[in-house]
Symmetry: C2
Subunit: 369 residues, 2 copies
C-alpha cells in the first residue's frame, strides 16, 4: 500500500494531519530522526518507539556503499535488516553526492563522483537511485535531485532545476515497488520563479508527496524560509510536504507555520555526540565546567529516559571521558526534545494557539546561555 495523507485541520497555513503507512498511522507535522547507516546512531528501535518516533530516515547513498542494497534485499528489506517496525523514508542519495564528494561530473545521464570511503569511481543516475530504494524497500522513496550550490547563477540554477524535473520523471518511470511511495523534490535554488516552476512541473508528475529540497551548502535562514514560501503554495493540499534536512527547534516552528508536515535532520544525534543538548532555554554544552557538580537533569520537566535517570554532572563525566553512553543518553534527550516539540505544535494547531506557542517558544529559547 502507498502512504495516505489526511489533512485534519488548518491553522492559517499550518497543517494538522495524519499519515497512514504500512507500519501504522502517525500524526503530522512530525520530526523524523536520521538513521544514516540503517541505525539511528547508538540507539535501538525500542528506544525510538519509547520516544514516540514515527518515520525514520535512512540514506540510500550510504546503504548503497555499505552493506549494499542486495544484502538489505536478501535480509528481507530495510525493516527486517535493522529491525525497525515503523515507517522508513530513504533519501535519494542526491544530497550526499553533492555534499560528500569533492569532485563530481554532472551530465544529463547522472553524476560521476568518487566514493567518500575509498575514492572508487561511482555513477549514480535517477534510475539507479530509485532501483536501489526499491530494493531497500523503504516506505517512502525520494526522487534523485541536484542540490544546487549556494549561491548559484540564475543560468546554472535554471538548467539544473529543469534537469532535476527530467530526472524526477525518469525515476518515476522505473519505480517498481507497490508498497513504496515516491516523493518528488522541488528545487530551484534561491530563485522565486524557479521554485514556482519546479513546484508546478513536479506536481504535474503526480507524486505521493512533495519535498522542498535545499542547496548543497546550507543557505541562510531567510533564504530557506523564502524557498518554502515560494514553492509551497503550488503543492496540492492532499499530499504531505517534507522539508529536507531541517531540525533546529525554531526552524521546525517556521516550517510548520509555512505548511510543512515532515522534517528530518542529523542535528539531534550529531549534537549529542559532541556533548550538546537542546533545552527550552537554548542549546547547552555539557562539556562546560559549570555542569561538573550539577546534579540536576538536563531539563527538570523532560519526560525522556535520560532526564528521568541521569544528572548533567554524570553525562558531563561520560562525555569528558569519551564514553559512548554519554552520546547515547544525549541522543535520547535531543530526539525526544524535537519529537515532544512536534507533539506540542500539533496540540497548538488543534487548539488554535500555534502563534502563541511559537512566540513563547522562541522567547524562551533565545534566553540561551
Amino acid at each position: 500500500m502507498k502512504i495516505k495523507y489526511e489533512l485534519i485541520k488548518n491553522y492559517k497555513k499550518a497543517r494538522l494531519g495524519k499519515l497512514k503507512t504500512n507500519y501504522g498511522t502517525f500524526d503530522t507535522p512530525m520530526f523524523m530522526p536520521v538513521g544514516t547507516l540503517a541505525n539511528v546512531k547508538t540507539l535501538t528501535p525500542e528506544e525510538l518507539y519509547d520516544m514516540n518516533s514515527a518515520v525514520i530516515l535512512s540514506n540510500t547513498y550510504h546503504l548503497w556503499l555499505r552493506p549494499g542494497e542486495d544484502i538489505v534485499d536478501k535480509a528481507g528489506g530495510l525493516h527486517k535488516f535493522m529491525n525497525y517496525n515503523g515507517p522508513i523514508l530513504t533519501d535519494s542519495g542526491g544530497f550526499q553526492v553533492f555534499s560528500l564528494a569533492k569532485k563530481k561530473d554532472i551530465s544529463e545521464e547522472g553524476v560521476i563522483f568518487k566514493s567518500h570511503i575509498d575514492g572508487k569511481k561511482l555513477f549514480l543516475t535517477p534510475e539507479l537511485s530509485i532501483q536501489i530504494q526499491n530494493k531497500l524497500d523503504s516506505d517512502i522513496a525520494m526522487s534523485f535531485d541536484e542540490c544546487i550550490p549556494y549561491p548559484a547563477s540564475y543560468e546554472y540554477a535554471k538548467a539544473s532545476t529543469e534537469r532535476t524535473i527530467r530526472w524526477a520523471k525518469r525515476g518515476k518511470e522505473v519505480h517498481n515497488n507497490p508498497n513504496q511511495s515516491l516523493f518528488g523534490i522541488v528545487q530551484g535554488g534561491e530563485y522565486q520563479d524557479l521554485r514556482e516552476y519546479s513546484a508546478k512541473e513536479t506536481v504535474k508528475l503526480d507524486f505521493d508527496g512533495y519535498s522542498i529540497g535545499g542547496t548543497s551548502v546550507g543557505e541562510d535562514k531567510v533564504t530557506m524560509y523564502n524557498m518554502i514560501d515560494y514553492a509551497i503554495k503550488y503543492l496540492p493540499t492532499d499530499k504531505p510536504r517534507y522539508l529536507m534536512g531541517v531540525g533546529e527547534p525554531i526552524d521546525l516552528l517556521e516550517g510548520v507555520e509555512r505548511g510543512i508536515d515532515m522534517f528530518d535532520c542529523v542535528l539531534p544525534t550529531r549534537l549529542a555526540r559532541h556533548g550538546n543538548a537542546f533545552t527550552r532555554n537554548g542549546r547547552i554544552n555539557l562539556k562546560n565546567l559549570k555542569y561538573k557538580e550539577d546534579f540536576t537533569p538536563i531539563e527538570d520537566n523532560c519526560d525522556c529516559y535520560t532526564c528521568k535517570n541521569y544528572t548533567k554532572a554524570y553525562i558531563r563525566h561520560l562525555i569528558t571521558c569519551d564514553e559512548m553512553l554519554g552520546g547515547r543518553l544525549l541522543s535520547i534527550h535531543n530526539i525526544r526534545f524535537l519529537i515532544k516539540e512536534m507533539e506540542e505544535i500539533r496540540e497548538s494547531i488543534k487548539n488554535d494557539t500555534f502563534d502563541e506557542y511559537k512566540e513563547e517558544f522562541i522567547k524562551q529559547y533565545k534566553n540561551s546561555d
Copy 2:
C-alpha cells in the same frame, strides 16, 4: 551493612553460595561486568539488570582522575551517580597503576607514577586508595596491592608480597564506611610458598572477602591456575573468594572448579568493541566476510536481546561502518553469554553434574572456527 556470604553447597572444591548485599542477594559463583568509568561501556543499568547481572566492578584509579571521588561523593555515591541499583565493587587502583603507568617509583609509603591522561605526577598510597573508595561508597572495596611483574625474581616477589600485606593492614586501619565491605588480596607472584604465606597473613587481618590477585602482565594459564591452587586452601570457607581480571569462558570453569566465587573482566565488552562474539563453539569475529549474508543470530538459542532481534549480517554491517550500536549489541551478547554460563555452572553444582558440564563445554568451545 557489610556483605554476607553463605555457602550453600560444595561439589568437590566448587562452591554454590549466596552473597547478601545492601542491594539484594545474589547467587555465586558469579561473573561481574566491568564499568571502568562509572558505566559498563555503551550500556545502561536496565540493560545489565535484563542480563541478570549482579555485582558490577568500577575502577578507583579511573574515577579518582575523572570525575574525582569528591564529585561522586557529592552526587550521593557511585550508585546514585551512575544510577545502578545493584551492588558495586571497586578495585584498589593497584592494577591500573602497575599496568597503565610506564614509569613508577614504588616505596614503602606507596607508588609515585604519572597519570595516563596528562602525565601529571600522582602518588597513590594504601590509605588514599581506601579513602577514595570510602567516598565512592561502593559495596565492596579492595585493598591496595602491588601486581608483581611476571616473571619476577623470588627476592623481588617476596619483598613485594610482604609489603602488600603491610599495605593491606594500613588500608584496613583507615577504612571507614560501615556500608562498605573490604577485601584483602592474596599476592605472591608465581611462587607457591609466597602464595601460601600471603594467604595466611592476609586472612589473619580478617577481611570480609579475599581476592587472588594476578600479576601486572598476564601470566600463562597454567601459572594462573597454580596461583589459585596455591592460595585457596588457606582461605576461610565462610568468606567469598574473588579471582581478579579473569573472564575467558574456560577460565571461569577452571576457577569455579578450584573454589572461586567471583570473577570480573573487561573481555566481553572489549571484544565486543572489536567485533568479536562469544559462542558455545568458540569466539567468532563478525568482521569476517563469511557473515556478510548470514541472516541468523549470533547464537540460535541465546536469550539475549541481541540474538532475539538481530542477525550476524546486520551486526557485521554496523561494526564494519564503526557504528556504536554494533559494539553495544555485541556487549549485550557477550556479557549475557558469561552470565548465562555462570547460571548453568551454578545449576550443575546444584545437580552434581559440574564435571560433565565442564567437559562438554570445553569440548564444544574448542570446536571454534
